[in-house]
Structures are given as structure tokens and as C-alpha cells.
Amino acid sequence: MDRKQTFKKLLEDNEFVFLDGGTGTMLQNMGMKLGEIPDLLNIKDPEMLIGLQRSYIDAGAMIINASTFSSNRYKLGRTGYTTEEVISAAIAVSRKAAEGRALVALDIGPLGLMVEPTGNLSMEEAYDAFREAAVAGEKAGADLVFIETMTDLAELKAAVLAVRENTELPVMASMSFDANLRTFTGCSVEAMAMTIGGLGVDALGINCSLGPREMYPIVEKLSEWTRVPMLVKPNAGLPDPKTGEYSITAEEFADCMEQMIPLGLKLPGGCCGTTPEFIKTLRERFSKHRFTAPAAGAARSAVCSANRTVVIDQPRIIGERINPTGKKLFKEALKKRDMGYILSQAISQAEAGADILDINVGLPEIDEPEMMRGVVKAVQAVTDVPLQIDSSDPAAVEAGLRACSGKAIVNSVNGEEKSLAAVLPIVKKYGAAVVGLTLDENGIPKTAQARIDIAKRIMDRAVAIGIPKEDIYIDCLTLTASAEQENVLETVRALRRVKEELGLKTVLGVSNISFGLPNRGLINRNFLAMALSYGLDLPIINPNDEEMTGAVRAYKVLAAIDRNSTEYIEAYKDYVAPAPAGAGGQSSGSAGGQASAAGTSGAEGASGASGPLGSAILHGLKDDCARITAEMLETTDSLDIVNEHLIPALDKAGEDFEKGRSFLPQLIMSATAAQASFDEIKKRLARTGGGDVSKGKIVLATVKGDIHDIGKNIVKVLLENYGYEIIDLGRDVDKERVLEAVVENDVHLVGLSALMTTTLGSMADTISLIADKRCDCKVMVGGAVLTPEYAANIGADFYARDAKEAVDIAKKVFG
């Protein structure tokens, strides 16, 4: 029999599959130094490895790991060996050790670099490195791949995809968890189960980091969330910092592992500190038991990011705001790739109570798959709310799902053959959930029955290719009440029957209902309440609309979902009834009170910054600034406001900071308050078609290799609020990209930042490239390790010690 088949057969039998124990710690006991890469022994001292691996097989291991944990282009970088050289040697060594008595797994560990957003390795680069290893492993004759000790869900996903898309080898995947049931990067057990289980791995589990006793609750949790065969390889307790010795015996280890049998443990083994004796004891102990597959639990509809899981056991809000349709500002932001705008939409929805964020970036003139990939990554970097990938382009859907570190929803498939054939296989491949629209070639049917027929067709097709029922959410489609009044009830009736007769979850975009009617909010709110009481699970709404979010909260109280009204009370504990209409006066009355947290920057008050606007800026009062500016615009020219009020106040705030009279957060608050003022002025200018307030364009970037961009972002806030237009290229930016932005936008000032001595080289390279190609463009530099002397040395025109100085430089350059 084919050895790959042998592994699958082992999984199907009602027997345990014994894995091996620690390799690195064993080799250290045999004299290998800490910090050595054991993989190189495959070439330098294969007999040492053969001896060790044979002792595991003699102890009863049925699968042994080749010594390839670090065999990837990044970790081997310094050794002078290629991935393929080490892996082909390693598989040959393990084959020799196995002599047909055990299967040989290509062992794949983390790449050693952190993937984005915390690190700067892209998921695509990670994929390519894993692909290289997996292909080499298959070529060398590995029987399967074991991807292990992962802590980052995106990295693990890249590894699994690389193996599955480039080899035919079976895959076991495993992550390391802390006692808090999270990996080091915060990934939860259920997120691993859903995301990686959903990719169709053959076995899934937990290894390293903890001893078997501490691992029990993690295995228990995993058993609740997966039906994929479970592997568990704990450490032999914890190491002593002085001696490096591990704390528990083989007997204790076997005791703890035995307790995991009722949880459905299928593939037991050991990790750091375990020895052949541990595996032998384990095997003897387990011989008294038989493997019993865990009873299938209740199916559960859920989606997740790496850090947050949303179970759809009650109404959950899908935020609809990341969508350019009908939004001029959003379209502009997409075209300019202004992620800041899109991210602020994501964050405000998440804070307002969105459980899931819909992401739609469809614009005719952009590369949608590329944009989808970029936006998904950017949104994930700042929020842990799970995502719904919304596109009619299957390529964009796939790009979004690949980039998504978690289990997403695909919005959407419909009853048309073309849609079913294109979308469902992608949903299945990535283990996503899917929204099914009840329409087909003939449009949206009028009757509830016809919509249910389509829903059933979608369900049958999805289930046939292996998408479980709990991952299918049906959208019965909202029609406008003004045009098709009779159909409103048909929609909610269909919704109820989809739930009752087909047993599927339901989703509905709500706000279309009121199109063409006055006071749309009233209709929307009532339709939402109606749909919820008919059983709607996933309303797609604007979560920033307090009335709509409130309707969902209220429903959860009334339907006894929000027990003891806990969430409701939490949301409204500071609620103050709005003043009756016509009472006049102040319009603010929101709960937050954020503006009042602003600092009273500058003890001696507002000298040099005249009037109430200046004072509001100095005190960092955002709302007041907007209000006062709007009032002033009635009587004062906008440029006068900028030059006589805004800029002097900002100068004063800057001076206070510089002279040691205030702190950095206070300076930033003043700048943000001035932004509110600028926004009012821009609005006015847009209305009246007046001139531009932009004082000049500046490109900002943190140089290649550097991922600390907080300093650059402080500079950005300040410059923006002096009226400069900022083209922010972000962090870890190639020098070519900087030049491209300079040329494209005809820019005359570039600001570069670097935090580490190790990245100053790429700052120098960027400056010399700009100097070569664009001698009319000045460069200012800043960052913790820079000095004025060094800045001059590498050819920078200016050195900015802090954000205030960056503003002074800009003033000098632009006059």
C-alpha cells in the first residue's frame, strides 16, 4: 500500500497512533549546544539522529519526525545550506532509521520571523518558504507533513495552504498554547479548530509549551470544537533555568495523558523533555484502552478571527459601512489607497457594537482582488472582529479568504448555476461560511415558497461538496416597502420558514426597506424589530446608527437572550434622555465625554492664540473647535481663520511642548482639535467651490526594515493640522516606493523615519535614490537613533528632533 494511504488508514482504524518524543532536548543531552540547529546533524552526524529515531521506534512510535523543524530558508540562512539539501538528507536519514517500521513526517516549524502585522514577513512570503520545504519533503519521500509549534494563525494557515496546494501529502497541524488557552499571539483554541480544521487537515492538535497536566483544559476545549482526529504532544513539564532538566517522570506523563482518552485523543506523543522511555510508558499504559471517537456534539454556527470567536446563537450585527457604494469619500479613499479612512470606519463600527464586519471594496477602476487583500490585512491589524468578504468577483473573494486570519463569511452565492459553481468550491476550500441569496436567473421570486426553494437548492449544492449546514446563512432579500409593499411580509415569512424547515441561519440587509420613504430611520427600525422577531440571526446594518443597534439590544432583552439585561444595562448605564426638541442650546450630550479629557496645555493660557477657537485648540477640545469654526465661517474668511487663529494656536501648543510646559499627548490633542476645525473649513470650501487650503504635499515613510512607525505617525498628525497634505506610505517601505510617490505626486519634501541603528542603512539608500533622481526634492529625517551629524552624513537636507521641528522645516521649505 502507498505509504500516504497507510497514514490515512491509521487514522481510520479504531486504534491510537503513537507519535515520537522530544528531539532537540534529547540531542542537547547527547552534547549538542544550545542554539545549534539540530537539522544540520542530518548532514554532519546522521548516525546520532538515526540512533535517536530508532530508539523512538523501538519504544513504539508509529510516526517519527525527520529532523527538519528549522529547515526553511530563513532559519537556514546563515548556515550555507539550502532548504532542499537539508530536507533531502533528513528524509533519507529518517527513512534509514525507520526501515519500514514507522512512517516519516516532514517536520515543519515556524519560520523564525514574525508575520505581519506584528512582524514584517508577508503571508505570501511565508507561503513561499513553506512551499519550498513541502515540495522538497515530498520529493525526498516523506509520508506526511507535521506542521507544529505554531503560535500565529496566519503563519499556520500559510503553511497548510502551501502543503495542500503544492503536494499530495497528508497534513497534521498543531499549535502551542499557554495556560490561558491562547497562543503567544492571542490565538484561541476554537479559532485554530475552525480556521485550520476548515482547511481540511488530517489531524489537528496541541504541542509543546506546557506539560500534560496544564494541557488538559486546552485539549478539552479543542475536543468541543473539532471532529478532526486530535494529536497531543506535551512537554515533560517545565525546564529548570539552571540545569535545563524537565520536571516530570514518564509515569506521571502517562497518567495525565491517559486522562485525555475520553476526550477523543487519537495521536499521543511528547515534545521537549520527553524521551523514548516516555513513549514506551505511554504505549504500555494506552494498551489497556481503546481509542473511542468522541460523540458528535451539537452543530454550531460560528465565525472567528484569531483572537475573537462569534457564535451565532443569537442575533449578531454585521456592520455594513466598509462599502464604497454611494459614498464619495470612501471611493476617494479607496482610489488613493488611504487606509486610514477605511480603518477608522472599521474601528468605529467595532466600538459601536458590530460583531462582524462586511468588507466590500468593489469599484470599477481598481484591482479588486489586490484591494481586498490589502484591506482585509489592514482591518485585521487593528480589530479582532471577524470578517465577511463581500464581492461578486470570485477572485476577490478568494483573495480576501486567503488573507483572512480566521474563519470568514463569504457574501455571497445565489441560486444561479454560474454562481454556485464559482463560489461554493472556494467557500469549501477555505472552510468559510457563506451567505446564500434567494435569487437566481429569474430574479427575486415574489413568494416565500419560491425563495425557500432556491434556499434549498443552495443548501443541497453546498452540503454535497462538504460545506456543513451550520455554515450556510440564507438572505431572503429585503425589497423596498414603497415599491413592493406586499412583499415585505413575504420576506420575513420566508425567513422564518428557512429557519424552521431548512434549519439554516438567516441574514438580511435591512435598510433597503425604506428606500423612497420619508423618515427612513423609523421604517428601518421597525422592520429590523419585525425581522428579529421572525428569527433573523444576522442583521446587516450601520452599527453607528444608535437606533438600529439599540433595536437589536432591546430585542435581546425582550427575547430573554440578554440574561438579566446585563448587556443592555452596560450599554445604557450612563444614558441621559435627550432634551425635548426645540430646547435649543448645546447639541452635545453624548455619553463619552472624551473631549473633556483633553489637557489644559500651557499654563499661562492662550496668549498668542486669540479668541475662543485658539483656546479650544490649546485645550484640545475637538467638538468645540468644530462648532466654533462653523460659527466663525459665517462671518470670517476661511483663510483668515487658518492664518489668524488655527496656526497661531498650533504654534503656541508646539512652543509649550518645546519649552517643557506641556506633554506630548497634549500637543497631539491640540493638533487633533485643530483637525476638526480644518474639516469644517474644507467642508465649507467644498460647498462654495473656494480655493484649496493645502499648503503643500509631503511624503512620509518609515524606511525599509523598520516596523516602528509611531514617531512618523506623530509627525503626520501635526503636519496635517498645519494644512499640509500628507502621503503616508506606512512602515517598512522600499526606497523605490518612496521615489515613485515623489514623482507621481510632484512632491518637494519627504520625511523619513528610522528607529534602529540597523535600519539607518536603508534610510541612507532611500535618500541617495531621491537625490539621484529628484534633486528638487528635500528630505528631512528623524528617529531615536539619529543625530544631526549622522543626518548630514547620509545626505539628508534636514534633521527633525521631534514633530514640532518637522513642522518648522515644512514651513521653511514651503515658505
Binding site: K33, P241, V382, F663, P665, G705, D706, I707, T759
Partner: protein, 226 residues
């Protein structure tokens, strides 16, 4: 172990310019309170350390028994003079702090700078606690102050082997970028010498610090140590 209270004085030192010593007003204190609460929820302190016997290295480097890493340079040799063992240590506040700072940078830059300063302070506070733990284990022995790769003439390039010697990725989730930045960003590596005889219990001096030209504290005329 948690860090119940981040050192306010040190946090504020990161947040002011070279001149003067402003007093934080009530509004700023409130902002600091709010930030501290959220930051403390985001921090998951993790650390690991390992003790090695010092063996005389070739070419003037300090070699550690059973470890591939050799510590190069005059400064580390002087630092460990008279010590029989050295502790290699890595500590981190973990990835959640990076996430929090990233999030704040989208629309709350004033909070972002506070989180950043506070987290920098907190990771030093964490190291202080770990040092106490080591002192407890090594009662009766003498310890040097903490020396880090990049200080003086100890090259920063040794970070890779330093982390490998501690198996830092597996133990605490700390990795390196190709530009030698530790990630998560609020992470620190350090070397502490151990001796039976009293060591010079002076703290790190600016002379051996790789930040000496640009240090935020030095610009204000202060010292970070002691």
C-alpha cells in the same frame, strides 16, 4: 505575574521635550489612568531565563558552557569580570500591546503615545521583578546590573543566537526581524552576571549605552539608571 501599577514618573519622562519639567494636570492624569487600565488588560507578561557557567572564550569573547553564543567585546567582558555564571534573559509584554498601540494610532494618536511610553516603562518594571525573582533564587550571591545586546561594543547582531540559546520563540514568543528588531516590540533581552564576591553594583552608565547620543532621558539631562 502582573504589573499592577506602571511607573508614572518614568512614563512622563518619555512624553516631554528636553526643556523643563511640566506637571501633569488632572486631565492628563485622567488620560493616563484610562490608558493604564486598557494597557494592563493587553499586557501578558512572559519571560524565560537560563543560567550558564562562564568559560574563558577564545579571542577575548565570553563563552558560556553548553551554549553556542559567544559574547564579544570589551564592555561585556568588563561587565562580567569576576562572575562565574551569567543569566541570559528575555522578557516581553506580548503581542496584545502591539495591537493596542496599532489600534490607537488610527484615530487616537494621543493615546498611542501614552501606551507606547507606558509600555516601555512597564517592560522595565517587569525586568525589575524578574531580577528580584532571580535574587531570591540566588540568595547570598551577587548580581551585576542588566546588560543588553547593542550596549557598548557588544554587537546587536548577537540577538539571533541569544534568542536561539533561550529557545525564545517557543518559550515566550519573541522573534527577530531581519533588521534586528525584537517582536513583539515591547520585549527586552538582558545579561546578568552572578558572583560569590561583591560585584561593582553600579548601574549602567551612559558611556556603554548604545543610545547615548540620542537617549530621550539624556537629552533632558537625566539618566535612566537608578
Amino acid at each position: 505575574m502582573i504589573i499592577p501599577k506602571v511607573n508614572r514618573r518614568d512614563t512622563l519622562r518619555y512624553l516631554r521635550s528636553k526643556a523643563g519639567q511640566p506637571e501633569a494636570d488632572a486631565a492628563l492624569e485622567k488620560l493616563l489612568d484610562e490608558c493604564e487600565e486598557r494597557l494592563n488588560k493587553a499586557i501578558v507578561p512572559r519571560y524565560t531565563y537560563r543560567q550558564f557557567r562562564i568559560i574563558s572564550g577564545e579571542d577575548g569573547g565570553v563563552a558560556l558552557d553548553g551554549c553556542r553564543l559567544v559574547l564579544e567585546g570589551e564592555d561585556i567582558r568588563r561587565h562580567l569580570a569576576g562572575c562565574d555564571s551569567a543569566i541570559l534573559l528575555v522578557a516581553t509584554l506580548s503581542d496584545g500591546v502591539d495591537r493596542l498601540i496599532r489600534l490607537a494610532q488610527v484615530g487616537d494618536m494621543e493615546r498611542a503615545v501614552v501606551y507606547d511610553a507606558m509600555a516601555s516603562t512597564a517592560v522595565e518594571d517587569l525586568l525589575d521583578k524578574i531580577e528580584l525573582e532571580i535574587a531570591e533564587r540566588e540568595k547570598g550571591r551577587y548580581m551585576t546590573w542588566r546588560f543588553s545586546p547593542g550596549y557598548g561594543d557588544l554587537p546587536i547582531d548577537c540577538q539571533g543566537e541569544f534568542l536561539e540559546a533561550l529557545d525564545a520563540d517557543r518559550r515566550v514568543g519573541v522573534r527577530l526581524t531581519p533588521g534586528m528588531l525584537l517582536v513583539p516590540t515591547k520585549s527586552v533581552t538582558a545579561i546578568i552576571g552572578l558572583s560569590d564576591a561583591p560585584t561593582e553594583k553600579k548601574t549602567g552608565s551612559c558611556a556603554t549605552c548604545n543610545m547615548r547620543e540620542t537617549c530621550a532621558f539624556r537629552k533632558t539631562g537625566e539618566r535612566c539608571g537608578g
